[in-house]
Each structure stands twice: as C-alpha cells, then as structure tokens.
C-alpha cells in the first residue's frame, strides 16, 4: 500500500499539488489520470522521491519514505522517454540495479535473461539502445525497473512517446504482465482510454487536486462531477445536465417520451430538438441535434433504433435521458 497524505508542491506561483491524499492498495494497477498541468506526474515523482514535497508524507508498505532518497524507496520507475543508458548494452541496462547491489554475477545474468524473455527481448542482450525501436526500448526500461524486485512500479506516461499501434499492444502487454507479477503499479496518463483499458483503479486529477478515485466502471457511470464525467468519455448538455450521448433516447411521439421520462427520477425532462445531421459510425449512429433553446448536443443510438426512427435532417424529435446513473448536475465552475 502506498499512502500519500496532504501532499503539497508549489513551483513559484503554480500549485502542482494542492493538499493531495491518496491510498493505493497493494497489488493494484492504479492510473493517475488528468490533463497536463493537473499534477499527476508531480504526484508520481513525489512517490518516487524524484520530487521533494513542500509538505505532506509518503509511506510505502507502512514505511515512511518522505525523507528517503529514490535509491532507498524500493521502487522501479519507467520514464516517458525511456531514459535508457545509451552507453550500455541491453543486458547491462537491465543488470544495472543488480550490479549496484553487487549481486553474484551468475545470479544477475540468470535474472536478466529471464526478464528479457518476459519482455520479449530475448536475443537482444548485446544490442545498444540506439539499435532498438521505441517500443523495445520501453520494454527494456520495464525489465530494468523490474530487475530490482521493486515494491512498487511507477510508470510516467510510459507509452506517450510511442505510435498508436505499439501503444495499444504495450498496454495489453502491461496488463497481462501485471496479472502475472502482481507488483503494485501506478501509471500516469492523460489518455482516458488508456486508463480505462489498463487500470483497475483510477484517480482523476485536476489542477493539483484529486477529483475522484474509483474503479473504471464507477468513474464512468457515477462520476462525482462535471470534470470527471467530461474527462472520461464524451458528454452532451441536455436541459442543464450532462448526459452521455449513448444515454439519450429519441422518440417520435412526444407523449411516449413524456411517459417514459416520468419513470426516470430527476431527469432533465423531454427536450424538443431539430435533427441537424445523422452520422453513421458503424455499429452506432450519431445524431447531431439542436434544442429549442439553441443548445446543440449529440445523441448516440443503435443502428436498429435509427432505422426505426427513419430520421431526416430538419425534422423535430423528442430527446430524453434514459438512465439516472450518468446524469450529473451541471456545475459551470468545474466544467473543462
């Protein structure tokens, strides 16, 4: 378990961390998610000891490490730009932590070979980082961080510098690796899809504060506020509330819409809207709408529903929110 208590960090007049407290359970894969400048990297680096807090404490597995340097925190850290030791071979890179600890040569060699096999770099022992692709370098960096048997593995936007395909592959691979190794892992990302895909817990940060912590489903379905809702997926403004586009139903009959809406508590009501555009997106159809109030929003409905409705541009239709779960009272102060 990693516990951060009342962490605060200022850079001049910019507050990177504003009284942040967070528990990260042992064995979990937690994502710190937020836009740039939200303090997510600072928080990760503070856990690693690469950044000194102005106030607050960090404990790792019950040990207060607030005043310990990085080398005595029992961590593994993976950097966005790999931080490969350019003058060393892949083998020496991965062995670095063990060499520093003066482990016997045979043991080190065996462990390095094992790790390289796990990360799929078997046979690359004698290459230099410059001879590897970005994805390979990052896997080497992961093996290097895992070699010292860290209590926690910290990853700072590890896939940020890679292209889309490699990023998705490595993400899946990290997930599988975590299921095998079970080391407490904290991943910093600004990509909500990545967080939802990989993590079993997500902490959403904004302006140096934690907005919400929870599992991906909770965060997606019951966001604590506008910011979390807006950051974890697309949103539509419907009668002063925020709704997921796929939670909007469209009805031809106003009476039918009103009747169905009556069953949904605290709903934003039935909104009459003009169809501006119908966009087929494969499995789903996006309908761009303009409400009587002039506010534009989009609904995402299934192909079948769209076929039944036979929507034409310029028609008036009746929109309602189908579920309470993803409706958040709209608070303009928190909006992104």
């Amino acid at each position: 378990m990693i516990t951060v208590t009342s962490a605060r960090k200022d850079y001049g007049s910019f507050t990177a961390l504003d009284d942040v407290s967070l528990d990260i359970p042992s064995g979990s894969l937690t994502a710190l998610l937020g836009p740039s400048g939200s303090g997510k990297s600072t928080l990760l680096r503070a856990i690693a000891g690469l950044e000194e807090l102005d106030s607050g404490t960090v404990t790792i597995e019950g040990r207060d490490v607030t005043d310990e340097p990085p080398q005595r925190r029992g961590i593994g850290f993976v950097f966005q730009h790999y931080a490969a030791f350019k003058h060393m071979t892949v083998r020496d890179n991965v062995a670095f932590g063990l060499t520093i600890r003066k482990r016997p040569k045979a043991e080190t060699s065996k462990k390095v070979d094992e790790l390289l096999e796990i990360v799929g770099l078997d046979g690359f022992q004698h290459r230099y980082p410059a001879q590897l692709s970005g994805g390979q370098r990052q896997r080497m960096a992961l093996a290097r961080a895992l070699a010292v048997d860290p209590q926690v593995l910290l990853l700072d936007e590890p896939f940020g510098a890679l292209d889309a395909k490699v990023r998705t592959d490595l993400r899946q691979w990290l997930r599988r690796l975590h299921d095998e190794v079970h080391v407490t892992t904290v991943l910093v990302t600004h990509d909500q899809e990545e967080a939802l895909d990989v993590a079993d817990r997500i902490a959403v940060l904004n302006r140096g504060r934690i907005e919400q912590v929870g599992d991906p489903v909770t965060l997606y379905e019951r966001p604590a506020n506008d910011f979390v809702m807006g950051f974890l997926g697309s949103v539509a403004h419907l009668g002063g509330q925020l709704v997921r586009p796929h939670d909007i139903a469209l009805e031809r009959s106003r009476e039918m819409a009103l009747a169905l809406d009556a069953k949904v508590p605290d709903s934003p009501g039935v909104i009459d809207a003009v169809v501006e555009r119908v966009v087929p997106l494969g499995f789903e159809v996006r309908v761009d709408l303009r409400a009587d109030s002039g506010e534009r929003f989009a609904a995402q409905i299934t192909r079948r529903d769209a076929a039944e409705l036979q929507l034409r541009e310029g028609e008036t239709i009746h929109a309602r929110a189908v579920g309470r779960s993803s409706v958040v009272e709209h608070d303009p102060a928190l909006a992104i």
Partner: protein
C-alpha cells in the same frame, strides 16, 4: 544562386591561395629548413640538454594542467548546467574570461598576485617560489586553458538531460555511483575533446608563461620558450626551426588524435 564557372574557379584559387600563403608556406619553410641539413642534424638539435629539459617541462605542465582542468572543468560544467544558484550568470561569463583576456595580462596579474610583493607574496618570501618557478608556469597554463573542458562538457550535459541519472537513482545508485557509471560515460566524448584542446593550448602557450618563467635554458624553459630564446637570444636559427618542428610534431599527433576521436563521436 547560380555561380558561373569562372567565378567559381576564381573563388577557389583565392581561398586556396590564402590558405597556402598564410599556413602552408610558413610551415613548409620551417620543415624545409629543419630537414635541409639532414635528419641527424635535426635529432642532434632536439636532443641537447636544453631541448630535452624543455620537452620534459612542457610535458610536465601538460600532465599537471590536464587532470586539474578535468576535475574542475567537469565540476564547473555540472554546476552551470544543473545548479540553481545566485551568480550562475556571472560564473558563465567568468569561464570565458581566459578567451577574452590577453595572455600577457594573465602573466602580469599572476606576478602581482604571487610575486614577492604581491598579495600572496608571503609564500614567495617563505621560500616557495611561484613566480619564476614551475608553479607559476602551471598556474598561467591552467588559467588560459580553463574554458576548454567546461565548454566542451557543458553542451553534452544539456543534451543528455537528467533522465538517465534519475533512472540510475531509482535503481539504487547513490550520487557517486551515478556520476561514475552514468554521467561520466555519457559526457566522455565532450570531455576527451576538451582534454585534447587543453593539451594543444598548454603546449603552445607563450605569452602568459614567458611572463612568469625565469627563462633559464635547461631549467625553466618550455618547448615554446625554447623556440623563442634560441631564435631571439642565441641567434641559433636552425635550433629554433628544429624545436619548432618538434613542437609541431606533438601538436600534429594531438590534432590527429582529435580528428580520430571526432570521427568516432560522429559515428555514434
């Protein structure tokens, strides 16, 4: 821009002619004069006691200057790149001072500082001779060669950033281990280049060194001073040519080394 054939040829002739007259001819003349009487004459001239002592002294000064500049040069470069302290801008400017100040001024200021009547003159009066002794010549050489290592290492430090060092620290390395295993290997080509430049300049330094040397042949003459004294004081023109050729030979070896290293560096 299109350049006509005539213009291009003219430009080439001018450029090559300029190099030829200013560089090739003087060096050619010295080489020709040196080897005109034969190789044995040359060897005899550079193996007199005065010449041997001058060569030894030059190499001794290099041998002291280089390690001092390496240690303080790397430390200064680290402070300039990584440090966040007041007066960093001032330090930046001070490092370049030896490039700006005439070597003769360096010599004069050293005499005023370390000479018998200077601020640190007590040392001299106590019998430890700095000025007109080897320590003075070393000080003068260190002064004029100080910027080379700093200015070669500094951009490399900038370029590599701190990621690798931080990675090493998360892997358990302390500051000292990180420096030896990560930082130093990462800047080694910049450092080597700085050392080569330092050696070349230390061998060739004249103005600052002549001010603080007693100039006795066989005692306190560097190779560069020997060339000067043989020519001006002894009217031993041939001896001056021979010593100059020896000096050039060493410089040439250093230059070759530098080119080879540079090629190796650009390979990476």
């Amino acid at each position: 821009m299109r350049v006509s054939r005539g213009t291009r040829l003219t430009l080439r002739v001018v450029a090559l002619g300029y190099l030829f007259v200013l560089l090739a001819v003087p060096i050619g003349v010295i080489l020709w004069r040196t080897f005109e009487p034969g190789l044995s004459e040359f060897i005899a001239s550079i193996s007199t006691p005065a010449a041997k002592s001058a060569l030894n002294l030059s190499l001794l000064i290099v041998a002291i200057t280089v390690p001092v500049n390496v240690v303080f040069g790397v430390a200064t470069a680290l402070a300039l790149v990584r440090g966040r302290f007041r007066g960093r801008g001032l330090l930046q400017a001070v490092v370049d001072l030896p490039f700006a100040v005439s070597p003769i001024v360096v010599g004069v200021s050293l005499i005023m500082l370390w000479g018998a009547g200077g601020w640190f003159g007590a040392l001299d009066r106590a019998g430890f001779q700095v000025i007109f002794g080897i320590p003075g010549m070393v000080l003068a050489t260190i002064f004029v060669t100080l910027p080379f290592v700093v200015r070669e290492v500094e951009p490399v430090l900038h370029e590599i950033g701190q990621d690798q060092e931080q990675a090493a620290s998360t892997l358990g390395a302390n500051g000292w281990q990180t420096f030896w295993r990560i930082t130093l290997p990462a800047v080694r080509w910049g450092l080597t280049y700085g050392v080569v430049l330092t050696v070349a300049r230390a061998l060739g330094e004249f103005g600052a060194v002549i001010m603080v040397s007693s100039g006795f042949p066989g005692v306190s003459q560097t190779l560069t001073l020997l060339v000067h004294s043989r020519y001006i004081d002894d009217h031993n023109t041939y001896g001056a040519y021979a010593a100059a050729t020896l000096l050039m030979g060493i410089a040439l070896v250093v230059l070759l080394l530098m080119t080879l290293l540079d090629r190796k560096r650009s390979d990476r």
